[in-house]
Every structure is written in C-alpha cells, then in structure tokens.
C-alpha cells in the first residue's frame, strides 16, 4: 500500500473534466485507489464519488493505492496531478 498527499494546483480543482481524467486513470489499474479530501472519502474509480468530494484548488488530497500494480499507478497519478490535470 502506498500513500501520498497532494495540494491541488489546478484552477478548477477536481471538477467534471479533471475528475473524469482521474477516474479513467484509476480504471486502468487493478489496484484499489482511494482519495481522501477533508472528511470525505472516495473510490477513485467512481466519478460520482470523486466529484462529490468537491475538492478545490489549494485543497490537500490524500491518495491511497493498494494492489499488485500500485507503484506504476502512483507514478501515473503523480504525473497527472503534477501536470495540473493537463489543464490549459
């Protein structure tokens, strides 16, 4: 199991499009991916749960990845969140 915290740097926070990117990425891995933001927790493979976190710019989220391909998955999330969800 790997855990890592991020501060959201993209303008929109986890809105519809960034949320969709995140969910698509989570779906590509076998590992279970959980996001915690404030007091809410979401399965990263569920768009509705991720959106309902309502995570915004400047907020800290914690990612937990657990499964056989967790290292690869963490690297992929690092890139996506580090690039601010490829927001223009």
């Amino acid at each position: 199991m790997i855990q890592k915290s991020y501060t959201l740097g993209n303008k929109l926070g986890i809105h519809a499009r960034p949320a969709a990117e995140l969910v698509k990425l989570a779906g590509a891995y076998e590992s279970k991916v959980t996001i915690v933001a404030g007091e809410k927790r979401a399965d990263a493979k569920s768009l509705l749960m991720v959106m309902s976190l309502g995570a915004k710019m400047g907020q800290t989220i914690e990612l937990t990845i657990d499964g056989p391909d967790e290292a690869d998955a963490m690297q992929a999330f690092d890139t996506l969140i580090g690039n601010n969800f490829n927001e223009a």
Binding site: K11, A16, A20, L48, G58, Q59, T60
Partner: protein
Amino acid sequence: MKQIMGKGVVDGVCLASVMTLSEDIEGVLDRYAVSTIEDEKSAYQQASQAAVGQIEELIKNATDQTQADVLNAHLLMITDVMLTDSIEAKISGGLSAPRAVMDAANEMAAMLGAIEDEYLKERSKDVIDIGKRMVRIMLGISAPDIAVGYHVLCGDDIEPSMVANMTSEHVGAIILGQGSTTSHAVIIAKTKGIPTVVGLGNHIDAIENGETVYVDGETGEIIISPDETVKVRYQERVAAIKAMAKQYDAIVDQPSVLKDGMHLPLAINVGNPTDIDSMKANGAEGVGLYRTEFVFMGKAKAPDEDEQFEAYRYVVERAKPHLCVIRTLDIGGDKPADYLEIGEEANPFLGWRAIRICLDKPELFKTQIRAILRASHYGKAAIMLPMIISESEVLDSKALIDEAKAELRTAGMPFDEAIEVGIMIETPAAVMQAERLAKVVDFFSVGTNDLTQYTLAVDRGNPKISDRYDYFHPSVLYAINMVAAAAHANGIWIGMCGEMAGDPLALPVLLAMGFDELSMSAPSVLKVKYLMKSLKVDSVLLDDVLASRSAVDTRARLTHYLEKIKLKEEIHEKDY
C-alpha cells in the same frame, strides 16, 4: 404579440416556430407494471448497455472537444459503481427498474447539488440526464426529435446531451425557464453559437408548441407571435450582426474615444487572475475591478502574503502600463470561506461581510494590503475598499494601509508610495455621504449590481421579483448622478464597475454624468468602444433621463436617443 424578457446568455437572433420539450416521464413510470427482480435487473442491464451505445454514437458525431468531454463524463456516470450499486439495491428492494434508475439518479443529483460549488451543482443535471436516457429506453419513450425542421427549443430546462446532439441547422435558439450561465447546456450552446435565453421562469408555460417566436440572445428579449415589424427587425438584426463582427475586429487596437476625440478608458473586470489575458484581445485599457475573492475562496486557510502577492502581481504586471484597481476582500455569508467562521446568517447581504470583516480582523486585512502594495511595484495598482457606509471605515482602513506601508519600508520591500486608495459606491449610505467621502479618497467606483439591489431593496437572486431589479430605475440613476457630481466637485475621478458599465444603452447617460472610466466584462468592451465613436457628452440628455418616471421609461428614452443618433450617422454616411 407578446414580449417577455429573460437573460440572454448566447448572442444571436432567431425567428422560428417553438418546439416544447416537456415530457411526462413520471406519468408513464406510475403506470409501469413491476415484474420479477431478475427481470427488472436484466431490463436495467439492457437499458444501460443501450444508453452507452447511444452516447458513444453521439461522441462520434460530436463536433468539438467540449461536447465530447461532457458525453465522456456521461459514459463514466452510467457505469459508475456508486450509481449501479444504488440501482441494483433498489431493484432488489422491490422497485421497478425504471423507478430504481430515476430514484438513484435523483439521489446522486441531490448529493452533487448539495456541494457549495456552482459548477458541481450544475453537474447534477448530467446525472438526471443519463437517468432519463435509461428510463426512456426502458419505457420506449422517444426523446423529442430535434433533428428535423428548424425550431426554437423551449422548456423549463434542457438536458446537456440533447444540446450536444443538436446542430444550428435544426435548432435556431434555446429558451429556458431555468438555467444559468454555468450549466453544461449553456456552455455547449455557446460553442455551437446557438442563441440562448435563460431564466424565463413560468413565462415559458405561456408559450405553445408550434407558435412563432422571435428570440434575441443578446438582450434576452423574446416576442411571441411577432407581427411584420418584428420580422423586418429580425432581418435587419441578422444583417447587422454580420456587419458588426467585422467592425468590432477593426477597432480592437484603436483608442476608445468619443465622436469629438475625447478619450474615455475602458477597463475590464477580472476574477480569476488569468482573465487578464482578455484585456489586450478586446482592446481594453487596464483593470477597473480585480475581485480578489478568487484567491481566498475554496481554501482550508487564508492565503498567506506571498501567495496573494503572486496572484496580484500576475495581473498588475500584465495590465501595465494601465491601472489595475484591486478590490480588497469582498466576502460574506453568500460566498463563504470556512476559515473566516462567518457562520449562518439570516441575511448575508446585510451581514458580516467585506470591509466589516476586514476591519474586525486587521491582521487578515493588513496581510492583503501588504500583498497589494508589494504588487504595486510591478506596474500601476490602486486599492479599492468595498461596502463602505461611513467615513470612519475609510479612515480606519487608511490607518491600516499606512501601518502596512511602514512595515514594508522597515523590511526594505519596494512599493508604489503614491498608490491611490478609493472606495466602491454600492450602498445608499455611501451615496448620501458622497460629498464627505470624496474628501478622504482618491477615487470612487460605482458598483451598480449591489447599489441597485440595496437602493431598490430587491434581491436580484429571487426570480419572483428579479424583474423589479433594474439599474435604469430613476432612484438608481439619481443616486449615481449625485455621486458623480460629488466626485467631480471634489476633484477626484469616478469609474463604474457593475454590469451597467458594459450596457450600451446606459453609455450615453454615463458619458453625460461625466464618468472617467468604465470597467466591464471583457466581451462588452468592443461593443461599448464601437458605440462611443458616435456619441458626445450631452447634458440635455442627462436632464431628460433624470426626468424619467420608471425603469421602462428610462429605457424608452435612451433607446429613442440611440436610434436618433444611429439615423443621423446613416444620413451622414450617405452624404459623405
């Protein structure tokens, strides 16, 4: 013939027959006979797969990325474990498949709708959208066929996927009872250039299927069963819109001057720091209102001085050599930030907000002031205080500004020593004290949105009374004129930064009142700049407008005035 007014959100005009979008899903649902749990589950599975197929087909036909993004989100939602688990549980509990889908979708929508974020609230409509899609498939109801003929779509609300599916070839305009500028439907309509008017309330119930309507997406005007004169007007507008687009492009880099060459700077309002990019593109000079709330909202704690400094410097630097007016924190119970602990208020617009919070929390205020002062070194900035009602608030604020300056000097940090300090005029209290206030500040900026709301005691967010909210009301005009006179009598400049500043109809009277700067949303700049070229400061007009007896009367007087000017221009052009 009947005229109704809504809020124009996508520019353009249309004259066509109405297709109403109302449908009775609930009625059909009630008559649906429930089969075994197994059968219902398989009905749901089939509908889910069919819906995925439909959306994939729509994605293939999508003409731009925004539509495709929305539809891709729909695909993810349909197969979302949270939704599918909820639906399966409801079916196991004895509900019919379509009822389970609709209930689950409504629950998810309510959950998203409860989040304090306008954008996510709108997303709840996407969940309803996919729910309805599956239910229609199960019940054999076909969605209204919008791919035939040429119509104005009319409904209380519209599903985003329906807008994604439409083309301007078949849909001439969209008019909605609800809807906001941030709904997916409106965003997609914008990318497709389909004229759209929202916020018509129950007026839409009066519009029958098949009736002819004229829709103006710019002014929000809708005319039901228009007569010949409206039809002629429509043709003229179509030709004019085409010609205007060319004219606007030609004046982007020209100075904003009146007919006699007098220069009046047009500035833009900035919320998100990156909005500054639209200043140059629209030929504006400076920022008349930089709303700093963006830097404060949606955070776990107040942003520190460096973070604020970066956000302010970004805009000040890019506005250079023009002025960037930075408004200090204007936050309250309606747009909360948890760390301020504002709490629930019965009346947030009359509550603990803006300058009231800042003066009660001097450290928070001084941190912002220091950040603004530091940014002033990188261009030309000014400080603007919101929600002022008394001279003492200005004097207390200025004392804190002086303290902040002294701290920066001690720390050896450079800033503009001559930075101007002004106030927003947005309360009737400030209007009545304008003479006194003008003596202690460097400038005024009229915030017409709040000034109208406070002067008329009309909540602009309340649809039952929003038609009474109008800055052309004589009392509002009177207030603005008083303030302008007080500013000039005391040798300070006066600007305007509310929606009125970008309204071409208001321009002649604002010129006559002697405004020194107008600040508006970027898309309005070229419209105003273009109209300015044919106008002069006209004191006779001011007397005429101040004699108006109602908002409707004011609008009529100004419309008449502009028509006369336009006619003169045309004659002049012919003679030339």
